[in-house]
Assembly symmetry: C2
Homo-oligomer: 140 residues x 2
């Protein structure tokens, strides 16, 4: 097993570990959709595209998020067929809280690490930024 494969295996384990450590919250797609909406309202189909989901799945998700008060539907004034999905104030608040909870859970684990391990992870920050260039930053 060479170095790159060791890294790949370590990332695999890291994912399973993170999923155990981080509180369940809502689905990845739901969180990501709220995050996307925090930049402004979007149509159902546009959301579906951005989240890599099918349109009916996004319709169902928006229904649930509407029921839970995270988003609100409004007609698109420029197109009678379309619906604009808006993030509600409560949706924004909840998104922030869940992100904070996620970070706090990971942080607790990181703080347990010996200094040299924390330093090693800090040294990999740029590499992780590079690798995850396509992923939304928390402050989007």
């Amino acid at each position: 097993m060479d170095q790159d494969e060791k890294i790949a295996d370590a990332l695999s384990r890291l994912v399973r570990w993170a999923i155990r450590v981080v509180p369940k919250q809502m689905s990845m797609t739901a969180m990501s959709t709220l995050s996307t909406l925090s930049s402004g309202p979007l149509r159902i189909s546009e959301l579906a595209d951005r989240e890599g989901a099918a349109q009916p799945g996004m319709t169902a998700l928006v229904n649930r998020l509407e029921t839970s008060g995270h988003v609100r539907r409004a007609p698109d004034p420029s197109d009678g067929r379309a619906t604009l999905v808006h993030l509600t104030t409560q949706g924004q608040r909840d998104l922030d809280a869940r992100r904070a909870a996620r970070t706090a859970a990971l942080r607790t684990e990181i703080e347990r690490l010996p200094a040299e391990h924390r330093a090693a992870l800090a040294g990999a920050l740029e590499a992780i930024d590079y690798l995850t260039a396509g992923v939304d930053k928390p402050n989007d």
Copy 2:
């Protein structure tokens, strides 16, 4: 934002990135259950405990895995109430294949990285090992 929080955020993004990059395959619980079974047959309830699932959920999962030929039910000779779940040869083969596919997908991405970033990640291997000490290694 201090160093530890930066690391927590980076890990957050890394995990979401990895989940996007890796092919969907089967559910985490299904993969993990097959992995657990590769050390030997176990009861439904023991599996549920180890995977952190409720017993009826594990019964349903074993049903699906049985239908797909990954596992096989056998009576427990020492207890008429219990069922021993065995990994089939096909289940073991499939588990190996999916693990290989997962590693290959991550590896492809890692190989794209500049040498210094790969080195930085290699430097964090021990830290990741430490962090994920409780997670099953791929070769269990």
